[in-house]
Symmetry: C2
Amino acid sequence: MITVYGFSPSGNCHKLRLLLEQLGEPYAWVEVDSSRGETHMPEFLARNPNAKVPVIELDDGRTLSESNAILYYLADGSAFLPSDRWQRAQALSWMNFEQYSHEPYIAVARFIAGWTPLDSPRRTELPSLRERGHRALAVMERHLQSHDWFSGEAYGIADIALFAYTDVAGHGGIELAPYPAIDAWRARVRATPGFVALPDPDPQAAQRIAQTS
Amino acid sequence: MITVYGFSPSGNCHKLRLLLEQLGEPYAWVEVDSSRGETHMPEFLARNPNAKVPVIELDDGRTLSESNAILYYLADGSAFLPSDRWQRAQALSWMNFEQYSHEPYIAVARFIAGWTPLDSPRRTELPSLRERGHRALAVMERHLQSHDWFSGEAYGIADIALFAYTDVAGHGGIELAPYPAIDAWRARVRATPGFVALPDPDPQAAQRIAQTS
């Protein structure tokens, strides 16, 4: 059985839960609170020297890190990864876009809003993160005006990767109202069999998000 | 024939040249100077709305963006991508590491040193970029102490992805002297058949690099 080391509020970690549930693959989940420095403990660093969740571990102790590489591993050979070479590359292109041009802005704005103190100096980063986040959403909106999915002809791992933080962009003050095609795509993702939502932020995070302007 | 739209001094673009040369695959190269805003011109945006090089275009006009997704596409079915599912996922994991934890520090420090004016306000970012760059190199060094390659049992696209900016980290003031295993791996990569080096920085960039402390 696969063991996931993950932090439940993290979109990067939730990607794996969503795919594992949709694959019907049994897994164990070990909670690692990265907001409290638990990824920097020696036991965790032995699993991922880069000090980041999620990590998966197989029964024989082998480990794999990086959320999108894990999605690829889990989906390899399934309908969640296109079998056509060109489509597979397009899915990987969107997953690289997610990690380089989307997550560093949309996920980081959400993290700062909900998981740092209200007087954190990092809050000065919010306006520029939001601006860059909107640029990424505009690129997605344009694609979705003529395509249903990011993974090719059907829902798959590029949709899972992009859905994770797009769906909760509002937590970081990045509103989705200007993006009707993203809205329709979010509804399609939510309607896929076995869909599970990211848990709501805990009360402290929810309060910080509400108090962030 | 594949057409590459790329900026020759960019490591992300050079990744494709290196793999295409090593595959012996014919290609045309169209120079797009991203340091002069050419990726924001309408003609380029039609090929990649995310305004980044490299992009490849097939004869029928279809395009693919994101350097590591293009590497994957070109290598799919060749010895440069492991055929074993687990090893393939490990290679993708290192390529995600490269785009998230390595390139945003090591490539960006180099870009600021060589391709921004000596009085650019961005130069204040250099100390923190260098610190994060060294963290990424330490993770690589640790892996290379017990492995020859990042792509599995043999040289492949994860090595190409990581080599691109690691080899020129010194341009951004990130010295490689503390990393003997990285040094030995760089020599192994340089000795692979068909290896081509990144071109030297143009005289203006070289002068800025020399004047950056």
